[in-house]
């Protein structure tokens, strides 16, 4: 391991979004002055969400590590880059459908893949295909019926691909 690699693995991480966090803290401060109980309730909800998402974050970290460990940059480009073809589109669709948790939990992994040559069109496909929530399908069938769920699912898949294709066109 080179000295630079060792330093980057051991040094403090370069934090991103500190200003955003500060603004959120300020918003809490303002709400606390006006309605302390609402601010505490919001804080509790945010905290509970963080706790609930910790396993998802752990899974995402593990997945990023596995992808980086198993796949070399050339392989990532071949699977998700310019020359990925139909395989790339299908992979993005499948990943979107089976991915779990909120969209923003996946941003670090997507960012990492983009830096390694992943296509923007596939990111768009992945993010829209996440409308299909496999664990929640029974609930959707219960609320809206099987026919609606199937029709919506098909349109979501088609819509994801169209958006990905449009994104590639717009990025040229």
């Amino acid at each position: 391991m080179s000295r630079e690699e060792r330093r980057s693995a051991n040094g403090p991480p370069p934090f991103r979004g500190r200003l955003f966090l500060l603004l959120v803290v300020l918003a809490y401060g303002v709400l606390f002055r006006h309605d302390a109980s609402a601010a505490l309730l919001a804080l509790r909800r945010g905290g509970l969400l963080l706790l609930r998402l910790l396993p998802v974050f752990a899974a995402v970290i593990l997945l990023i590590a596995l992808v980086n460990w198993l796949l070399r940059p050339q392989q990532i480009v071949r699977w998700l880059g310019r020359e990925s073809g139909v395989r790339g589109w299908l992979l993005a669709l499948l990943a979107g459908v089976i991915s779990h948790g909120p969209m923003y939990a996946w941003y670090p992994m997507i960012s990492d893949l983009r830096e390694r040559g992943g296509r923007d069109g596939l990111v768009v496909v992945f993010l829209f295909a996440r409308c299909i929530k496999v664990p929640l399908l029974p609930l959707m069938v219960d609320s809206f019926g099987l026919r609606f769920t199937l029709v919506l699912g098909l349109y979501i898949l088609a819509g994801s691909l169209v958006q990905g294709w449009l994104m590639e066109r717009l990025q040229r």
Binding site: V24, L41, L53, W69, Y104, P108, R147, M167
Partner: protein, 160 residues
Amino acid sequence: MKKKEQQNMPAGQRAGMVEPRPPFLLVLKRSSRMFLSMAPLLVGIMGLVGLVQTLVTPEMLALLFRGRPVTDTLVGTLAGAAATGNPVVSYLLGGELLQQGISLYAVTAFVLSWVTLGVIQLPMEAEMFGFRFMLLRNLLALGGTILVAVLTAFTMQVLS
């Protein structure tokens, strides 16, 4: 081939060789650091989610619908984009809205935009992927949500 032998090889010869895979623990540590660097963004988003969930209740969202299919579809898209939380809430609320007579166009747009659009996560998306990507992606998702909602509701009408 031994490491020492590789080091003694000419650079051109070494370039053609496949680099050895780094230890998994090192890769895991790098991934954790990369994820940790996003911590302020993630914590900020979750703080914002807590705020919106407290200040914008499902009942307030339901009041936005007026029973006019076209405007309700737009309202549903925007309300879903502004709302946050588990998609289960959007399904349950969507079911309620349907029973209240709100059009399927509007309810479908609401359920879809709840997942695919998120006003709250826009700052994080812009920070991580750049403003242009965030803008294009969300405009496409906005158009896609309305189109998918309209097509789904129309297909359901035709099928029934």
